[in-house]
């Protein structure tokens, strides 16, 4: 994936800042051309015994130095802001897409590896933009210095630049290998960071089994592998750089070889020779830099490819689309949306919904059809691996359906993922995740709730006792991923979070570790007394099954039967078996 258009678009939101920087940095890089000329003048003045000319040359030299410093410091002041804006824009856009874009969204890699894309790949891309920005100064310096050298001696100029061009071509020839080594380094780095992340996430089991030793040995193996990749990468990188830099000596040597006779013929003055001697190292330096930019191009290409892999189906412009990074003051709280009466759920119809996991990693679903009436209580039940959780995830658009229709009232839903959100629906997954923030913000998720609604929500989710146990009640900081709460407390918080959305359709994937059966039964009762809601619940518990207006019995990814408990117990062997087993 060509990173150039991506890099080009990144600067779009700040055109003024970008071009000011191009201008300032170009000045910074081009000024030394004058220095070369002045050194030549001073040497010619020495040759001619002209002290005044020498002193004038030195003064101009000084003025150039001071000007260049002023340029540098002002460039940094502006560039530090531009750089951070660019990198934050990329990171923000990646996160925004994953959090908000339409369509089903499953991370195609471990969380640790995804974080490394946010970290290193964004860095690589912005460093590449930095190179492009410097390219103007680089080209400016090369063009003006070559022009001046050519006016002295076209032959010597040719001798000076030929090796540099040769080095550049050699660099280009090695580019495929550069890319390969770079990719290998990336994947081995990903394994290391991924494993460290998983290791620390699982630290309690690791400690309990006392296996941190062998696991760290495994990390050491991954480290070794990464070191090998890094060294190979360094060796090639250094060779390429050296190839470029070494050309300063070769170029100078060739100029000396060819220049000897010209000097003896009096065609080249001491000042002329010093101009060449001053320019050549600087030019090869810039050529080497050009080589690095080329390498950076490949790094950026890898980085962009990985970003696109993370976002799965995003257009490439997603990386760079202009967006506000922050406004002054607190970010505005989202306005709690309310459905107009005619848009509220009357009937949800699902027809022939199918989904298969690409590598068959878990049970998919086949041709699932059912209807939910407003105010009804529907339970999805079945054995493990029968596709219950998959069914609700596909319905909500968390997994991409392969086929099938979903209708809300009579409206056909094209993108369930952006449709099934509050105020239409809300969801508590089987293993809910909280984030390290206060309990109350985990529950409200930015919605502004008045005291009494919050109280009702807490009460409904049976959290009142929990609050008493927590050090600061609702303001307790829940720790990383909610680690300071118990499993049951996390589930109850997630339930409260769902009630706080005031959604029409509530989807629960198993509340069994949050509430005891009786409390759960009471919860359903009170929920329907208090609110006009429709529930879709994954459960195998008796009170839920007994309460259900409709049970969807799943077996091997298909709907085995649908009906009330009495109907199913009367006619379905599987249902009877399940009912007996839980007894």
């Amino acid at each position: 994936m060509n990173p150039f258009p991506v890099a080009w678009r990144i600067s779009k939101p700040w055109p003024f800042m970008f071009w000011i920087n191009v201008f300032l940095w170009a000045g910074f890089h081009i000024f030394p051309v004058i220095i070369g000329v002045m050194v030549g003048r001073v040497f010619d003045a020495l040759d001619q015994g002209d002290q005044n000319l020498a002193i004038t040359g030195l003064w101009i030299y000084l003025a150039v130095i001071i000007g260049r410093l002023v340029l540098f410091q002002s460039s940094i002041l502006s560039y530090s802001r531009l750089w951070h804006r660019m990198i934050l824009l990329v990171r923000r856009n990646l996160l925004d897409y994953l959090m908000r874009a339409p369509g089903a969204r499953v991370l195609p890699m471990s969380t640790g590896a995804a974080v490394s894309t946010f970290r290193e790949d964004a860095d690589q891309l912005v460093d590449y933009v930095e190179n492009l920005l410097d390219l103007f100064g680089l080209a400016g310096f090369l063009a003006t210095s070559i022009w001046i050298m050519r006016s002295i001696s076209p032959t010597l100029t040719l001798w000076a630049i030929l090796p540099m061009i040769g080095a550049f071509i050699a660099t280009r020839a090695l580019s495929g290998r550069i890319k390969m080594y770079r990719e290998r380094l990336r994947t081995s780095t990903e394994s290391v960071t991924g494993f460290i992340g998983d290791f620390f996430t699982a630290i309690e089991s690791v400690k309990a089994t006392g296996t941190s030793g062998p696991m760290i040995d495994h990390l050491a193996d991954l480290n070794e592998d990464r070191q090998r990749s890094a060294l190979r990468d360094t060796f090639l990188d250094q060779t390429v750089r050296s190839l470029n830099r070494n050309m300063a000596n070769i170029s100078t040597g060739l100029v000396l070889l060819a220049g000897g006779s010209l000097i003896q013929a009096g065609q080249i003055s001491i000042g002329d020779l010093t101009v060449f001697l001053v320019y050549i190292p600087r030019m090869t330096g810039y050529m080497a830099w050009g080589g690095q930019m080329l390498a950076q191009h490949f790094r950026a290409r890898v980085a962009v490819t990985r970003m696109m892999r993370l976002m799965v189906d995003a257009p490439i412009t997603q990386i760079t689309d202009p967006a506000p990074l922050w406004q002054d003051g607190q970010p505005p709280a989202p306005v709690p949306a309310v459905l107009s009466p005619e848009r509220r759920l009357r009937r949800l119809t699902v027809t022939d919904l199918s989904f298969g996991f690409p590598d068959g990693e878990a049970q998919g679903i086949r041709d699932v059809s059912f209807t939910l009436e407003r105010g009804s209580f529907t339970v999805v039940t079945g054995r493990i691996g029968s596709g219950k959780t998959t069914l609700v995830r596909v319905l909500l658009g968390l997994l991409p359906r392969d086929s099938g229709e979903i209708r809300w009232n009579d409206e056909l839903i094209r993108d369930p993922s952006s449709f099934f959100v509050p105020p239409r629906s809300a969801y508590t997954p089987q293993v809910p995740r909280l984030v390290s923030d206060t309990l109350v913000s985990n529950i409200t998720m930015g919605r502004s709730l008045d005291e009494s609604t919050l109280g009702e929500v807490i009460d409904l989710a049976r959290m009142t006792t929990d609050l008493g146990q927590l050090e600061s009640g609702l303001d307790t900081v829940v720790g990383t991923r909610g680690a300071r709460l118990s499993g049951g407390q996390i589930q109850r918080s997630a339930a409260a979070r769902m009630f706080a959305t005031n959604a029409d359709l509530l989807v629960f994937d198993d509340l069994s570790s949050a509430l005891d059966v009786r409390t759960e039964a009471e919860l359903w009762k009170r929920l329907f007394e208090l609110r006009d809601v429709t529930c879709l619940v994954v459960s195998h518990r008796h009170p839920a099954l007994q309460r259900a207006d409709q049970i969807i019995l799943m077996k091997d990814g298909r709907v085995d039967d649908t009906g009330t408990l009495q109907e199913l117990l009367g006619r379905n062997e599987e249902m009877r078996a399940l009912w007996e087993e839980t007894n």
Binding site: G210, P331, G487
Partner: protein, 590 residues
């Protein structure tokens, strides 16, 4: 922060690295050799050029000029080869130190109290043991090699310049002293800001990591907007701190660039003066300029690397903090546990957590081979009891005895080998089935692993895998259901052949069919061993020998299950009654 303070910090920081440096003398010697030869050639090259200038504008045969030009090219190539060699060796040293450091840091962090991990996100720890240590690696691979070559080059230049002319020599020396002084004064200028910068970047990645982990919760509950809104605050903090760190560092860069430009100008002025005085030739004047600007190359790279060093210094500072943090549980036990089922005893154990009492004078004894169910509400102290037995914490007062001896006397490996703890959440790793069951212990026999999986009821699943126990499980075991993951956790425990099994919240969140499989697997696992089961359902404790009920950190009931069930006044009987009274008899969450 004043310079003395930061200098003090930087000096101390290197202590962390010292043990890693000592063991790599050979590598350092190789690096030194390539650096010395490289620097020698680099000093010689301007001399050749000076000779050429003087002879070209003098009166020598052309062949002499061509010979000098050829030598010049040869020396140039040699210098470059040495530069590749020194950088390569430097990088090798940097990586091997970083890897050792990473392993030690990971080991150290893993040894810290569970409490530390509860308060620190995995993302932030990745930033510590990866990001910070990478900065240290870069310090060796880029900075160290260049700084050392730079210092040698500097010394060589002094000597060779003095050889040409005293005034020129003093100019170079005084100038260099001035530069070194300035750099020294500026050295710690941006450390504090850089440290704050890395702090906020850890916060940024921690934020991202947690949100990515919670992606379904966020998306299905329409909280994407809220997440992005909160992200603004994190971004703003990162931007402010990081920009200010950049600008602070840029003062160092500007100073350096300014000084070196002035240095070359100074050399030109001094050279011109000496030529007018008739003291030196053009060639020598150019030599002085070249030597002066030879200082620029390496030191400009040093200033480029300054950022890395400051990152490394800040990173090392944080690593020091990390290494300075000690686990509160000491690991000095020397006695090994017997191979029999273990006896567990609490003798007046009190435990307070953040000065909040969690266990209050708890005493009980579990006879070897007994299966006991622990009941009680959240916060009643159930899991604290298991965490004390697993020695994640030590009791504030009283004694925990295992196999008849105080747990603090028990050797760490023996405790881990004899006590299996199955936690509520099961984390699988990217790796083979073998790695996941044996937790990367390579010495485990294949047949033992297969046997464990078969015994635990995963035999059929194992048979369905393409490469058996060598089958690679995708990132964090994505392919396994939560029930299967729990079975893998049981297989892990089975493989240990422990004398005591501790199980937290078994078979929560699974359907009845899996529950049956899990419960059968559990029965096989705990047969002939002592078992402590934190139960949330009465069904789980239907077959245990004893029941213990906790309330507010105290044991309120402990006895034989049958007797308690039969005694009408017991809490357990009351619980059973309550359950019967309800719609079903299988579950009561406590």
């Amino acid at each position: 922060m004043n310079p003395e303070e930061t200098a003090e910090k930087s000096r101390l920081n290197l202590d962390v690295l010292r043990p890693y440096l000592a063991t790599r003398r050979g590598w350092f010697a190789l690096a030194a050799l390539s650096i010395i030869v490289g620097v020698g050639l680099e000093l010689w090259i301007p001399q050749i050029l000076a000779d050429f200038i003087d002879e070209a504008f003098g009166d020598v045969p052309l062949s002499q000029l061509i010979r000098l030009a050829a030598i010049y090219i040869g020396a140039g190539i040699g210098a470059q080869l040495m530069s590749i060699a020194s950088r390569y060796v430097g990088t090798a040293i940097g990586w091997s130190i970083a890897n050792d450091l990473r392993i030690d840091a990971t080991r150290h962090v893993a040894s810290l109290d569970l409490d530390y991990h509860t308060h620190t996100s995995a993302g932030a720890l990745i930033e510590r043991v990866d990001g910070d240590i990478d900065a240290v690696a870069k310090m060796f691979s880029h900075f160290a090699v260049q700084v050392i070559s730079g210092i040698l080059l500097l010394g060589g230049i002094f000597v060779l310049t003095f050889r040409e002319n005293t005034l020129a020599g003093w100019t170079v020396v005084i100038f260099s002293a001035f530069v070194v002084l300035a750099m020294y004064l500026l050295r710690g200028f941006a450390v504090a800001a850089t440290k704050a910068e890395r702090g906020t970047s850890a916060e940024l990645y921690g934020f991202i990591e947690e949100r990515l982990a919670a992606i379904e919760d966020i998306r299905a509950n329409g909280a994407g907007g809220h997440v992005m809104g909160t992200f603004q605050t994190v971004m703003r903090r990162y931007y402010t701190r990081s920009v200010s760190a950049w600008i602070k560092r840029s003062v160092i860069w500007t100073t350096s660039i300014g000084m070196f430009s002035l240095g070359t100008l100074l050399a030109l002025a001094v050279g011109a003066y000496l030529v007018f005085q008739g003291e030196i030739t053009y060639g020598v004047a150019f030599l002085i300029i070249q030597y002066m600007s030879k200082l620029e190359g390496p030191i400009e790279e040093i200033t480029d690397q300054m950022q890395e060093v400051q990152k490394a210094a800040a990173g090392l500072g944080r690593l020091r903090e990390l290494f300075g943090r000690q686990p509160t549980v000491s690991r000095v036990g020397t006695s090994a546990l017997s191979t029999n089922p273990l006896e567990v005893e609490f003798d007046s154990v009190t435990f307070a957590y953040d000065s909040e009492p969690v266990l209050d004078d708890v005493s009980f004894r579990i006879a070897p081979g007994t299966h006991i169910g622990l009941l009680g509400r959240t916060g009643s102290g159930k899991s604290t009891i298991t965490k004390l037995i697993a020695r994640f914490y030590d009791a504030s007062s009283g004694t925990v005895l295992l196999d008849g001896r105080p747990i603090s006397d028990v050797e760490e490996w023996s405790l881990r080998a004899r006590v299996a703890m199955i936690t509520q959440d099961v984390q699988l790793f990217e790796g083979s089935v073998r790695d996941n069951v044996a937790m990367f212990v390579h010495e485990r026999d294949d047949t033992l692993i297969e046997n464990a999986l078969n015994e635990i009821g995963l035999g059929q699943w194992l048979a369905s895998l393409p490469d058996g126990i060598d089958t690679h499980l995708d990132t964090a075991g994505k392919g396994l259901s939560s029930g299967e993951a729990q079975l893998v956790a049981l297989a892990r425990a089975y493989l240990l052949d422990p004398g005591l099994v501790i199980l937290d919240e078994p078979s929560s969140r699974v359907d009845p069919a899996t529950e049956i499989v899990l419960s059968a697997a559990l029965d096989r696992l705990i047969e002939g061993r002592t078992a402590i089961i934190i139960a949330h359902r009465l069904a789980t404790v239907a077959h245990v020998d004893e029941i213990m009920v906790l309330e507010h950190g105290r044991v309120v009931e402990h006895g034989d299950r049958r007797e308690l069930a039969a005694s009408p006044d017991s809490l357990f009987a009351h619980l059973l009654e309550t359950a019967k009274d309800g719609l079903i008899r299988d579950e009561v969450v406590l």
